[in-house]
Structure formats: C-alpha cells, structure tokens
C-alpha cells in the first residue's frame, strides 16, 4: 500500500495475453508527480499495450494499476479514466478531421462531458481565451479555422498535443510524438514537453534517441512485455541486455 502512496501512476505485476501470446508480462512501473519519463523498447515490447491498459482500452489479466495512489484504473472505462485526468496521444495522429482546428481544441477543453451539457454549452470569454492560449502554444493560431484534415503531419501531431493540454490532465501519455517531424519541430516538441512536465507528469514513448536525449528524462526500457532497465539514457544504453534486445541475438 505504502509503495503507491506517493505515485501518480502505479503498475505492479501487470500481465496481459492475447490468444496465448503474452504482450505484457509481469510489468511494474511507477510515474511520480511532475515527472517526465521516456519509454523505449524494440517493436512488440508492449509499449502501446501498456498505454491501452492505463487508459482502460485493454483489461489486464492480472496485476494492479493505480492512479494517484488510490484509484483502481482496471475498474474504469476510457471515458472515466480520461475524466480523472489522463490524456493520451496516439501513435498515429488522430484528430477530428472534419472539424476546424479550433473546434478540435474546444471539444478537448475540460468541461462537463454529458450529452445535455454539451448541447447547451456555449463558449464564454474565459474559454475563448484559453483556446487562444493553447493555439498560441502549439503554433496553430493562423490555421485555427482550417479543417484539421488539411494540416500537415507535424501540425496534426501538435494539434493533438494541444488537445491534450486543453484536457488539462494530470498525466499525459504521448505515443511517438515526433514521428514525421522535421528536426526543428522535434526540438520544439521536446521543449514543449519539458515545459508541460513542470506542472504535470508526462510519459513519452519514442524511438528517436536524439529526442530522448533532448528530453533529459528518466528512461525505462521495455522488452518482451516487462521492464528491462531503468535510469538515465547513458546508463541504460550502456546496459548490455538493452543492446542485445535491440540488436537481437
């Protein structure tokens, strides 16, 4: 019990298997408050499945998943977990393509999520200001009235990060945020995530090592569904087991 008191996210002994294949095998992991943590690992290491478990999309066969020390995430569905304050960015950028950029953010804005409160919702000045701020942060002000479908790949990534910010979550799960970005955009993204992690926790899954280095975060290496190594990037990349799992035998 005590072990998870001080954590924002606490996974202990989590396993899940699909048709006999163990995607996650006895995984234990902790994210603290206001921590930026990077997750790396070869393909099939279980990174996306881990996020599915945290966000309620997949139920683990066994193990504990707690949020904020006391909320059992395995009992909640996606919407409830999102309302608790866990935001997720998908590996493939997923924005609402037939809405404008501003509408995308408005939908993400932290407001009551009920059907009727949505029907009678009307953005007040405070909301508009908040949207303007986020647009500024993700540098999409000039495109706010365009359909999201017309954004470039990198812009969609940023819009999705913007949507995460609008949600005002305590924990952001960010899956491959810099895929398809230019080097300059990658650097900016690292800065943005670091800034975000001043006030909330961020978990980033990435393959781009220079990006991870820019983040200067604690690194967790996943392989075959469990934690292989943890520590600074230099520390884990010196670990022979990590090298082996990346290069294969």
């Amino acid at each position: 019990m005590n072990a998870r008191n001080d954590t924002l996210l606490y996974l202990d002994g989590v396993s899940v298997s699909f048709d006999g294949f163990k995607a996650i095998d006895n995984l234990s992991l902790v994210v603290r408050h206001n921590e930026l943590q990077a997750i790396i690992g070869p393909n099939g290491a279980g990174k996306t499945t881990m996020m599915d478990i945290i966000t309620g999309k997949t139920r683990p066969n066994e193990g504990e998943v707690y949020f904020d020390g006391s909320v059992d995430l395995t009992r909640l569905d996606e919407a409830a977990i999102a309302e608790l304050g866990i935001g997720r960015k998908f590996q493939k950028p997923t924005v609402f393509e037939s809405h404008t950029v501003r509408d995308n953010l408005e939908l993400a804005l932290k407001k009551p999520r009920g059907v009727f409160s949505a029907w009678f919702y009307h953005a007040d000045d405070e909301d508009e200001t908040r949207l303007d701020e986020i647009l500024e942060t993700v540098r999409l002000t000039h495109r706010q009235h365009n359909l999201a479908a017309n954004l470039s790949h990198g812009q969609k990534q940023w819009l999705e990060i913007g949507m995460l910010l609008a949600q005002d979550p305590k924990l952001l799960l960010v899956d491959e945020p810099v895929a398809g970005m230019t080097d300059a955009e990658t650097v900016e993204t690292a800065k943005l995530l670091k800034a975000i992690s001043q006030t909330r926790s961020v978990m980033v899954v990435e393959h781009d090592m220079s990006f991870i280095r820019d983040l200067a975060a604690r690194v967790t290496v996943l392989a075959e569904g469990s934690v292989l190594a943890q520590g600074s990037l230099d520390h884990v990349s010196a670990d022979p087991r990590v090298v082996e799992s990346y290069l294969g035998r």
Binding site: F18, D19, F21, A23, T48, T49
Partner: protein
C-alpha cells in the same frame, strides 16, 4: 334357373375359345365369378376354393365383397354385381373392375347368400391369398389391415400365417396384430401380459395407440403393465422425436450453411458486404432451371444427370457474375463497407428485376431427379433423400472450400492479401486478381448453393431475399473470417430453430432466434469464434 341365363355363359365359353391362351386366365376368374350364384352352398364353397386357387390379384376383393353379403345378381341380365346401399336403391359396380354400373332397386337384385361355413371358407381363402401370398408386400398389407381391424375371428388364420412367415418385417407386424387382437379377446391373463410385452416391444405410435385403447377394456390386474408399457413407449418416442428434430435442424442448418458459406468468403475473408449474395444464389437456382429446361426439351434421357450438369455451369455463371460485380463495382468501394452494402443492395434489386423480366415473376418448376425423391426410415426417423443429399452436399462443399483455402496457392494468396494487402502486393501477388478470384469463388459457391436450394425451395426471383438475412446472421454468429465458425453457427442455428418450433411455432421461433442473435452480438460482437488481440482493432 332361368333358361336365358345360359346364353351369356355359352357366349362366354365361345369367347374363351376364340381369344385362347393370353386372356384365358382373366376369363377364368370372370367365369368362376359368374358361376357363384348357382347351386347349393357347398357348390358355392367349391367355387370359392377354385377362385382362391387361381391366385388372381382381384380374387381377394371379390371374396371380401361376397363375405360381406354385398354380391348380387341383377335380374334383368343375370350379371353378377357388387351392390352398396345408396338411399333407397343400390349403387352397382362390377366386382372385378370396380366400374360403376348405375343403380337398381332391391327388387331387381338377387342376393348371393352366404352362411357361416361359407364365411369361414371365404376368410381362410382371403387369408391364404393375402396373408400367405408369395409377395411380401401383399402379406404386409394384409397384416397391417388385420392390425387395424383386430378381428378376433382372424386369430386362427393369423397363427397359421405366423407359423409360415419368413420375412421378419412382415412377421413383426403380424405379431403386433396378433397381440392387439388378443388384447381385444377374453384370453387369459398370461396370454394378455405376453401380448402387452409384444406391443410394448414394438414401441411406435401404432403400439402406443393400441395400448392406450386397451387401457379402458383390459382387466384391472393388467393396468400397471399397460401403463408401464405406455410410459416406456412415450420415452422412446420422445427420444426419436428429439432425434428427428436434430435431423430437421441439421437439414435446415446445412441449407443455412450452403447459403452462408459463400458469404463467409466474401464477407468473412474479404470483408465485403455483399447484399446481392442472395441474388447470386438465385442465379444458381435459375441456372438449374435452364439446364433442366434444355434437357426436358432435347435430351429427356439425361434428366437424372441434370443436377450434375447444372453444378459446374452454375458455378461458372455465378463466379463470372461475381467477378464482374467485383471488377465493376466493389473494387471502387474497398474500405467503405457501408457504401459497399448500399451499392450491392442496388445490384441485388437490378439482378432480381432482370431475372423477373427474363423468366417471369412466378415460381419456376425445378424437378427432383429420381435419386433425390422419396424417403426412407432409419429407426424411428423418417429421412427424405433430397434433405439427406443436401446435408451431404453442404458438408462436401465445406470440405472442398476448406481445402482450397488451406491447401492451394490461390488460398494462400487469398489469406495473404486479406491479412496484409500491401505486404502481399510488394511480394508480387497481384492483389486485384486475387480480390476478383476470391469474390468469384465466394459467388460460385453461392451459385452451387442455388442448385441445391432449387431442390427444396421455390425458384422465384425472390429466392435470394429470403436467405440473405439468415446468411448474415450465420456468418456474424459464427464469427467473421472463420469458416469453422460458419459451420458451427449454421448447424447451431438450424437445430435451435427446429427445437423452438414445436413450442413457439415457426414464426415466433424465428423471431426468438433473431432476438437471440441480436443479444448474442451485443455480448460477443465478434461472434462465436472471434479473432482476438491487437490486430482486430488495427
């Protein structure tokens, strides 16, 4: 005796001489019948023996009429006739041919009288002719009629026949008839108990009726034995009824399987919603009709082979139609399942109307070849040949399809394309061709399903519509992309349907099944045999 009565006899004898040998036998019986009115009772008895000795098929019925006292001589021409009272008059008929001879008042008729001795003679003569006839089917009919009538007077004869009987089938019926008869007589308890056992051992609906009827007349000491017998038979019948339902269910299930199996390819493997699937089945049925039509007109001798000829043709026709549909329409709609659904629905309307325009809106007659008609009994089951062949056919088609998918290069390519189109394409598989062939295969299977369905259903332009919803239910219930699921799904739904029918009626049973599937899909959206894991969501 009236002297004029001799004239027809003389004429008859003359005719007999002229026509000579071939007709002689028939004339013989007629001559004998015409001598019946003459002489004393003992003369008549001799004629009866002579008649019986001819062994002619018609003799038994004449003797029966005579025994019932319904044989008369018409006074105006001395002809021997059978007479049945009809109002005030008698309706007359020829005792040999059954030809109606008008009516006459009783004053114009002389009854050919019989006494008890003659009656006994007649009975034993009939018994000899029927119960001891050389033909087992005649014996069986006679035994069955005894079983129905249970005439205690025939008991002696029955015993005699039983002793001589060699055919086991006939023998069991005779034994049952004997036991039934004994239950009606005032025979001793032991004999009756033995009779009850015999009847119980028979164990069918007839036996149940016999026992139930005897319950009211039998002495009270026998009641427990009879009740035990009834309960035993009812249990046995319930079991056979259950089995019969299973059989009907399997039969319906195999029809569903046939209708759905093509869909399992196009929808299950390719993910294409083909609402025109039912119409492709219909095209297969119409191909059968067309083939039979040509055979009827030009090669009547080939009729028994009509299905064998129709099968490959139907496969070819519908596979080509399928490929045309895929190349012409569906390939523009990959990745848009709901639009595919609508477009193929439109195609189904067009196909229906085309067939209606060519063949007319009415049901078309598709005949069953000889080897598909009739039925046989298996234990307590009654099995029709066409249903049996369809079950066998469905399973064979299923096995072939499974082999094609798992053991041929085409099957391998199909599976490759459905699992990873881009990868397959970069490995040199011509994916558009594979798509077209897969769709053609699914449609061809639907076509041969149509050949089978033409044997048990009305062939009309609406044939397909009655199967489309059921087929989708089967595929969805069984689990998409899984042929075994389709098999299990089809058979389960077929059997469930037939088991519900006795309780709920056909329509309500079907509604229950639909509601069940709707609820089932809610619980397991991917069907019975679902693919699991990340691939599903991707």
């Amino acid at each position: 005796m009236h002297p004029f009565r001799l004239i027809p006899k003389l004429l008859l004898a003359l005719a007999l001489l002229i026509t000579a040998a071939p007709g002689a036998f028939a004339q013989d019986v007629e001559a004998l019948v015409n001598t019946l009115p003459e002489g004393s009772y003992s003369d008549r008895e001799k004629v009866i023996f002579d008649l019986a000795a001819t062994g002619d098929d018609r003799v038994a019925s004449i003797l029966k009429v005579l025994g019932e006292g319904d044989l008369y001589v018409r006074e105006e021409d001395g002809r021997v006739v059978a007479g049945k009272r009809a109002g005030r008059d008698y309706a007359l008929s020829d005792p040999l041919t059954g030809e109606a001879l008008g009516a006459a008042p009783s004053s114009d008729l002389d009854k050919i009288r019989v006494n008890n001795r003659l009656r006994r003679a007649i009975r034993s003569a009939i018994g000899q002719l029927t119960l001891m006839s050389p033909s087992p089917s005649v014996r069986l009919t006679a035994a069955r009629s005894l079983l129905r009538n249970a005439d205690p007077d025939a008991l002696e004869l029955l015993d005699e026949a039983l002793a001589a009987e060699t055919d086991t089938g006939v023998k069991t019926v005779m034994e049952l008839a004997r036991a039934t008869t004994i239950l009606k007589t005032d025979a001793g308890l032991d004999e009756k108990t033995a009779a009850i056992d015999t009847v119980t051992a028979r164990g069918n609906r007839e036996a149940l009726a016999v026992l139930t009827a005897s319950l009211s007349t039998a002495p009270s000491e026998l009641t427990p034995a009879i009740e035990r017998g009834i309960a035993g038979i009812e249990r046995k019948l319930a079991m056979w009824d259950g089995l019969q339902n299973v059989w009907y269910g399997l039969s319906l299930g195999s029809v569903l399987l046939l209708a759905a199996i093509g869909l399992a390819i196009t929808f299950g493997v390719m993910g294409v919603i083909n609402m025109a699937h039912g119409e492709i089945v219909m095209l297969g049925a119409y191909t059968t009709f067309a083939v039979q039509q040509v055979i009827r007109i030009s090669f009547p001798g080939l009729f028994d082979y009509s299905l064998a000829i129709a099968l490959p043709l139907a496969f070819l026709v519908t596979a080509l139609v399928g490929i045309a549909i895929e190349r012409g329409f569906i390939r523009w709609l990959y990745g848009r399942p709901l639009e595919t659904l609508l477009a193929t629905w439109g195609l189904s309307l067009i196909l229906q109307q085309t067939v209606r325009t060519i063949f007319g809106p009415n049901n078309r007659e598709v005949g069953n070849p000889g080897w598909m008609s009739g039925a046989f009994d298996l234990g307590g089951l009654s099995i029709t040949w066409n249903r049996l062949w369809i079950v066998v056919f469905a399973l064979v088609v299923f096995a072939i399809l499974l082999a094609v998918l798992n053991r041929t290069p085409l099957g391998l390519q199909m599976r490759a394309v459905t699992q990873n189109r881009r990868m397959a394409s970069s490995m040199g598989i011509r994916t558009p061709w594979v798509d077209a062939l897969t769709f053609g295969l699914g449609s061809g299977i639907a076509g041969i399903a149509g050949v089978a369905l033409s044997q048990i259903d009305n062939v009309s332009p609406n044939l397909g519509q009655s199967y489309i919803i059921d087929s989708f239910m089967v595929v969805v219930f069984g689990g998409v992309g899984n042929l075994w699921g389709t098999l299990v799904g089809a058979l389960t739904l077929g059997v469930a349907n037939k088991f519900l029918e006795p309780f709920a009626g056909a329509v309500l049973g079907k509604i229950f099944i639909l509601v069940f599937i709707i609820l089932f899909i809610q619980r397991r959206p991917r069907g019975l045999f679902a693919l699991k894991g990340r691939a599903v969501d991707a």
